[in-house]
Structures are given as structure tokens and as C-alpha cells.
């Protein structure tokens, strides 16, 4: 508590200097900038204090600089931020995997068996958050849906499709899969054809996000959802037939 008030005092102190400085001539301007920066840092850090020792924290630090206690996740909603990845549909999956493994190697509950129960429970919460983030960011469809959600365009279960042609296409595609029965070659062909459509759609979605055309993105993500559902369906049949590749 004392530390918090100390930081608060420092902040007020800086602010008072700032105010007095603004009245001075331009010669002091460079200094002013310095104060501005300091003020910014102390202001943001003010909200990020260690739950255990009360010392201020860096924005992205996982552990307290002083007492080394694991900190609560600062971001829970934006899963890109959770894994400090760029908020984009295009994703370097190797980099994502590395980031995930690196963070998990620091945060996994196994590393905290000798620590306090408070830290153990933070580690459990944090670790499962990272798992969730990785699972979503690694899958293009889920990643796209999450990005849409962050932009306030969450796909709703009451959403309707007013594209009869597309629905017709999905109907006949589903029928084709059904009619293929247990014909492995036919199923494999359908699978490959479907995979091409999925790859193409993912490229389009990448462009849509880049050009920020939300309506188009949403339409394509919905389409992707249908093709992925067919993809999974064929995959399931093939696995049941013992085709593994």
C-alpha cells in the first residue's frame, strides 16, 4: 500500500513539474519531452503493480522484477495479445508455436509445484489461457472468427444466409459426399477438391482483412465454415475407412 502511494506521489510530483515547465521558454522543450515520457511510463505502470509485493511492473512482464512472483495475465480477451502476436489473419505458424512453447515453459503449473498456492492458481489460469489462445490462433477459421469478434463482428447463431446459390452448392456438395459412400478414391478426390477451395478462401480472407472490408470478410468466413465442416466430414469417413494419409 505504501508503495502505491509512493508511486502516486511521484506521479503528482512529475505532473506539478510538468505544469511549471510549460510556462517556460522553448529552450527547455527537450527536457519537457523527457518528462512527458517519464510521466507516461509512471502513469501506465501505476495500474500494473505486483499483487504480492506492490512494486510496479513492466507492461509485458510475466514475473515481478523484485519478488519474482508470477503475475496475473494482463490481457484475457485479445488472444493475439495473450501470446504477443501481431493482430493479423496472416500468421507465421512457426513463430506462434515457438512463442507458445516458450511461454508455456515458463508458466506451466509443473514449474510451480514448490510455490505458494496463490501462484499455483495463477499459473493454472494463465497456462489454460495460453492453451486456449494457441488453439484458436493456430486454426485459420478460428483465428478469423476471433479477429472478427475483436472487430465487433462476431458470428451469431441467429445470423442468416441470404445466398440461395451458395446454399444450393453446399447441399449438393454434402450430397456428393453422401453418395460417395465408402468409395475411397472418390472421397479422396472430393477431399482434395475441397482443400483447394479452402486454401483459396483463406487467401481471400487474408486480403479481406488487409483491406479491412468487414462485410466481405464475414461472408467468406461463413463460407469457410461450411467448407471446413465438409472437410471434417470427409476426413472422418476416410479415417473410419482406415485411410490415414
Amino acid at each position: 500500500m505504501r508503495t502505491i502511494s509512493l508511486i502516486k506521489n511521484k506521479y503528482i510530483f512529475l505532473e506539478s513539474i510538468m505544469k511549471s515547465e510549460t510556462n517556460h521558454s522553448s529552450i527547455i522543450r527537450p527536457n519537457n519531452d523527457l518528462f512527458n515520457r517519464k510521466l507516461f511510463i509512471s502513469k501506465t505502470n501505476f495500474q500494473n503493480v505486483c499483487w504480492k509485493c506492490g512494486i510496479e511492473q513492466g507492461i509485458s512482464s510475466l514475473f515481478c522484477d523484485k519478488c519474482n512472483a508470477l503475475q496475473h495475465p494482463k490481457e484475457k480477451e485479445n488472444l493475439f495479445k495473450v501470446l504477443s502476436m501481431e493482430e493479423d489473419f496472416k500468421m507465421d505458424e512457426g513463430a506462434l508455436k515457438n512463442k507458445f512453447r516458450k511461454m508455456q515453459s515458463l508458466i506451466h503449473p509443473d514449474k510451480f509445484s514448490n510455490r505458494s498456492s496463490a501462484e499455483q492458481s495463477i499459473s493454472e489460469e494463465y497456462s489454460s489461457l495460453i492453451n486456449k489462445a494457441y488453439n484458436i490462433l493456430q486454426t485459420p477459421l478460428k483465428r478469423a472468427e476471433h479477429l472478427l469478434e475483436l472487430k465487433g463482428q462476431k458470428l451469431d447463431e441467429n445470423d442468416k444466409i441470404d445466398d440461395p446459390e451458395f446454399l444450393m452448392e453446399m447441399m449438393s456438395l454434402n450430397e456428393e459426399v453422401e453418395e460417395a459412400g465408402d468409395n475411397k478414391q472418390l472421397l479422396k478426390n472430393l477431399f482434395e477438391k475441397n482443400k483447394c477451395v479452402i486454401d483459396q478462401l483463406e487467401k481471400e480472407i487474408e486480403d479481406n482483412f488487409r483491406s479491412n472490408s468487414i462485410e466481405k470478410t464475414k461472408k467468406n468466413v461463413i463460407k469457410l465454415k461450411y467448407f471446413i465442416s465438409i472437410h471434417n466430414k470427409i476426413n472422418k469417413i476416410l479415417r473410419e475407412l482406415g485411410v490415414t494419409d
Binding site: 458470428l155 451469431d156 447463431e157 441467429n158 445470423d159 442468416k160 444466409i161 440461395p164 451458395f166 446454399l167 444450393m168 453446399m170 447441399m171 454434402n174 450430397e175 461463413i222 465454415k225 461450411y226 471446413i228 465442416s229
Partner: protein
Amino acid sequence: MALNITSKLLRTMSQPTLRVSQTPSALYHKNVIDHYENPRNVGSLDKNDDNVGTGLVGAPACGDVMKLQVKVDENGKIIDARFKTFGCGSAIASSSYTTEWVKGKTVDEALKLKNTEIAKELSLPPVKLHCSMLAEDAIKAALSDYQIKKNKIKKE
């Protein structure tokens, strides 16, 4: 006693596949399973027939697609209904139930079908309510398709 519980626990843990395969029957109501396992009126009617109305709807959030068709006689009575649904068990059960329900009703009566009625009959849980809404949309789309066809013929 403790040993008994532990061994029971271990047994259930060592049979994950068995547990997974048993889950659906525990989650779905028996009416859903009945319609899912013995779906009524699966198939298609000739969509170019003037007496047939076709409704095709989809639920983007699940990737489901549902086709519902009705055949109406000259007195405005629904004499046949068919469906084809690619989706979850609840979506299939909802459309199966809907085709049964509309048979023998007039077009006007059938327009009154509410999704809540479907959900109630099948005891759908809240997360599956949208499946019944999909079925309601499908029957409305089919009836409207039929009415549009009839109005066109009248004008000609």
C-alpha cells in the same frame, strides 16, 4: 472403500473412448434421438412441380444446411413434406418433426408453426434452440416459395 473408489476412477479414466461415445445419448432427449435415428420424410420432391414449395436455409454459425419441401393439393392442404438436412442431431430432429407436423395441415395453419413448439416437443436445450429456429425458417421459406409460384400462375 477408498481403494474401491480409486480403482473405479482409474477404470473410467482408462476408457476414454467409451465415455465419449456414451455422452450423446445422455445429452439428447429421447425424442431427438428417435427423430435422429428414424428420421421421417427424408428425401426430395420435384422442385419444378408447381404444387411443390422448397425452402433452403443455412445457419452460418454451425455450417448447417437444411432443405424442406412441401406438396400442396388444390384445396391448399399439405399432402406431403420432405427434408434433407446436413447438420447436428438437433437440426435433423427439428426438420424431421416439422415435416411430420405440417402434413395434413393447410398452408395457413402451417405458417403458424413456431420454433418454440418444435423446441418443446424435442426438449431442446437452450444452446440448440437455433436448430428449431432454422426449421421454422425452412418451413416458412418453403410455404412462401409455394405461394410465390401460385401467384405467378394466377397472373399468367
